[in-house]
Symmetry: C2
Subunit: 476 residues, 2 copies
């Protein structure tokens, strides 16, 4: 790869036009570090193209000059995938100005959006058309759909609606040579050769830049029942989930678990957070059941199943939200865990998945290992049990020093990932690879898988200009 | 590519062992032509490996010797994708003996199966575990899951459960160089680099041979309501579908339409088929609503919505099956259309899709065009309206000669495909490309899309030994 010359910088500025670029240090700063402040990069130029054509022009210039390109959406990722390298040789391309909703077709249940649309705005636009766009995650107020698709975002409704990948019918992508791939078809069936869009979903910008997408919409829930249940443990959570799915016509749309330590941490650090129960329990489930009819039938069915679960000892207590406010309060207990963690000091995070049938075993093994290694470690285990996806995080003992605690990170994370992979699981369920988890990818993926990834990268981006250094290097 | 020598044939026989190969003409015959008798190939050798390792051994031998390989499942495809070429230089690899169900995990809602499992056997095994495997199509008694995945099969429940691609969590694949890609992970979230399985799903065996898969299972319906409704036209069908999805908590699992000519054709040619109504109507919908509770609530909800639809004029009459036998009889009206067509003489078939909001417009335009070109042509339009997928078939006038009628095929199919593509649609919704639709692929896919497919093929199968001549040629 080459470095940026004044001549190329001039060409790039011309391609995006006035107001489409940032050169001053203060303006560039937010693009050069991540939310968790783990990654820090440099760049001579941040580009903010306003059209897909401008994106294509930028890439064509960079391809001709061998300049590395780092695409960036809302910059809310956890793995450093949208941060440029430290030597300043790469340009950053922010998609933020590409934020038009191009079309909504309620009869076809589709919506065509540009990459820079903020996820929450897409949810709102769907609602305005009496439809649901179900991708839902903590960062939805600032993350952009292009980033969601490039990282195959997960979130809290995967159980019912799948990952971001599953919500896409078509993509418009600028390839690493500047050509435009126009695949904005709004079709539910289209078996005409390789499904090219799949290449770019989850590729973290290493094979091209997604500029627009056709998304699937769904019937909007008319009634949402929110339940907070106290459980004897993770194993009971898996049984309760199966019982509820069965008993409510498959309309469970979220099933989050959190352990006691999560609830205590939130109560300690978040204003107004309070335990819905008077007694303490081992594990809690936050459950959302959605129906498209508002006749009360879903709530009734949920109550029946909950009563059965209490009888069976799968649940020990439960509250059902009586209002939107109560529902928000319950969700807040789950959603503020990351913030509470931040305030509680050093934290070693994991985003593992295992088969749902192995979740309890994973939590058990990983807890034993962490407690064996670090006295008084606080195990903050929460996540999406219906997907087998647990954020198994370790917060420093309140008596310890953050730096000394974090020195355990590499060894302990390897051990936790070994446990997950040993149970047929993954070391990165929804957060992706970026640069943070590249060593883990090299460690856990088979030689054949790594080779195949390198071959795909080599075929599509042989010059390695698209988000170089992330995920994989090309093999040609 | 090279031709088979006695030496290579000997090696291949050794790789599969006794009973794993067929050389005699009679034994080979069923592997050399398709169900519709449109394609005819030759081969010196049909191999029937009994293990994934034997598949790998076969491919390694062929890779070293540059021999073309044609993978074959149940051989029920419509586009010639599983038939070898006419010069006999390619070998056929049947996956039929790879038919073990390796594992069922009801708590994880997954099932691990080998490629040669017959779809109906997988459905039954899921049922025995009190789960549903929802892929459902006419050929399910003989098609094999490996072929379903390699062609991304669709069928009648796509509306609710997606295409075959959407039902897969992991794949085991033998690559064109004989290496084994072990991706049999049973995870709902696994963002660890490129999603390699997507490459092989829908690639029709041109990038490798799928030997096993982890499939998703779903809650089994406890109550299925089958409705046959008379409608004023296709536009009303789209409205009725939206109303029903909304009114039954999204539990509509099938919504098939057929026009009057379909019903007449079936009554003329299929024993015992009878019109459920006394009057004739323009269009009919066969609807299936599934629920996981058997409390009658779903039937009640369906009845309420149907009454609203009758009031609104979207439906003109409707019957709800009162028994499993009645339900089977109604489904028979839909499922025997292909057989009735065969008996009615020459038929020009199309498998198009358009956005659901454009279905009525497509049918209207395509009907006008066909009737303009051929006097008294019988328009047999049926299909999966929830996916925008219409089998828009043309049956010869009863007074015409099949050969003379079929002479219109090329011109008329081009016109029909032009109409679909002009409405943002596809010329092959669920049947794939094979060799039949390669000219259409070259005609309708953009240069960029074709180039990208060729690059992917070139990266993974640079020698072009995997199902050569199907879909695309490699670019290296």
């Amino acid at each position: 790869l080459s470095t940026l010359t004044p001549d190329i910088i001039e060409k790039l500025k011309t391609a995006v036009g006035d107001g489409g670029w940032i050169e001053d240090a203060e303006g560039k700063a937010p693009y050069l570090t991540d939310e968790r402040d783990l990654f820090h990069g440099q760049t001579a130029l941040v580009l903010r193209p306003g059209t897909a054509q401008a994106v294509a022009d930028i890439i064509a210039i960079c391809a001709a000059a061998n300049i590395g390109i780092v695409p960036q959406g809302g910059n809310t990722g956890y793995c450093g995938g949208s941060i440029p390298n430290a030597d300043g040789s790469e340009i950053v391309v922010s998609l933020a100005r590409l934020n038009r909703i191009r079309d909504i077709d309620p009869l076809n249940n589709t919506m065509t959006v540009e990459a820079g649309c903020v996820l929450a705005d897409i949810q709102t636009a769907a609602e305005d058309a009496d439809r649901l766009f179900p991708l839902s995650l903590g960062a939805q107020g600032s993350c952009q759909i292009g980033g969601n698709l490039a990282t195959n975002a997960g979130g809290v409704q995967v159980l019912r609606y799948g990952n971001a990948r599953d919500m896409v019918l078509g993509l418009e992508v600028v390839l690493p040579d500047g050509r435009m791939l126009d695949g904005l078809r709004a079709l539910r069936k289209d078996n005409t050769g390789y499904d090219l869009k799949q290449l770019f979903l989850g590729a973290e910008g290493t094979l091209g830049i997604i500029t627009a997408a056709v998304l699937k919409l769904y019937p909007r829930p008319r009634e949402v029942v929110t339940i907070f249940a106290a459980l004897p443990g993770a194993k009971a959570a898996v049984s309760l989930l199966a019982r509820l799915r069965d008993g409510t016509a498959g309309s469970v749309t979220a099933f989050e678990i959190l352990n006691r330590a999560c609830l205590e941490l939130v109560q300690d650090h978040i204003d107004g957070a309070r335990d819905p129960f008077t007694e303490a329990y081992d594990t809690y489930a936050l459950i959302e059941i959605s129906a498209t009819r508002s006749d009360g039938g879903t709530r009734e069915a949920a109550e029946t199943v909950l009563a059965e679960a209490l009888d069976a000892g799968e649940a020990l207590d439960a509250v059902i939200a009586a209002s939107g406010q109560q529902s928000n309060d319950l969700w807040r207990l789950r959603e503020t865990i990351p913030e509470a963690q931040k305030r509680a000091g050093g934290c070693i995070k994991h985003d593992i998945s295992v088969p749902v049938s192995k979740v309890a075993e994973f939590i058990d093994q990983a807890t034993k290992r962490a407690e064996h290694d670090i006295k008084d470690v606080r195990i903050i285990a929460f996540g999406h049990i219906g997907d087998g996806n647990i954020h198994f995080n370790l917060t420093q003992p309140s008596t310890d020093d953050a730096e000394r605690f974090l020195a355990h990170a590499e060894r302990l994370s390897s051990a936790i990932h070994d446990i997950a992979v040993g149970l047929g699981g993954s070391f990165s369920a929804e957060h992706g690879i970026g640069v943070l988890k590249k060593p883990e990818l090299e460690r856990y993926k088979s030689a054949v898988e790594q080779d195949l990834m390198a071959l795909v990268k080599g075929a599509i981006d042989p010059k390695n200009i698209m988000n170089p250094g992330k995920i994989v290097s090309p093999k040609t």
